[in-house]
Amino acid sequence: MSASIGFVLVTTFLASTVEAIEMVTIVVGIGATRGWRSTLAGAGSGFLLLGVVIAVAGAALRAIPIGPLRLTVGTLLLVFGLQWLRKGVLRVAAHGFQGVREVQEDDERWRGAGMDWTAWLLAFKGVVLEGLEVAFIVVTFGATANQLGWAVFGGVSAVVVTGAVGFGIHHSVTRIPRSVLQLVVGVMLTTFGTFWSLEGLGIDWPAGDAAILGLLAFYLLAALGYIAIERGRVLGLSPGL
């Protein structure tokens, strides 16, 4: 397996895991409170729509020349990656290694005949809204690295693994350190976004593709430095910074 495939797999798997945690938490919460049949039907419909989005967008992106594609996708990934990097730094500095909140369960179980359309719609929206960003990352990342198949495999694996954890061990999915994952994915998207957007401009990186490792180390060290500064602010040690 080449390094390029490895990077694509790791990045899409981790990025998808961040959103899959929210997705599975929502679906498990709705299923536990309103019943599973309609909830799973809604979630399945949501995944179907995401599949169509990935297939259509993937086919469209493959028709674009690699230079403009890398500039556009790199810029989008860089902008989005910076937001996750910023959020990750703030959350890890404030709360450390921590999962998402547990879902409150009320006894609102659907007892009527046929489909519970409220559960269906809530699960559908949960999957589509949480999945749309990640579908975009998977398809653009995969198309730009010319590894769309592996990118989709990484994304789907994350949903399957997180789903198995969520359904198999009740509520344990909420203990996955989402903030840390968000930080790591933020660093990776920022790295690839920087690399591809400048390549799209026609910039030659020193050491070629190996510059990715240098950028990764640079942004990782920067993130750790900012976490240290933010922790100082949170603890009131460096209010003036």
């Binding site: 989005f80 730094v89 920022t190 401009l201 900012y226």
Partner: protein
Amino acid sequence: MDLAWSWLRGFALFWYHFLIGDDWLLAAAVVAGLVLTALLRAGGVKAWWLQPLLVLAVVGVSLRRAHRA
């Protein structure tokens, strides 16, 4: 009509959230960095270093803005 408007609004909000998010400064700095890098390249300067340094600086500024807010 209401449904179409609702989907259109949701689509616009998705892109706003995706591109602008919590701080518009990040997106603005990325675009400014690309423009400056392209200008320097046109002037014959190898400017691969500019965007990473700009990113480092703007994240620091954005974190400081978040702290103040």
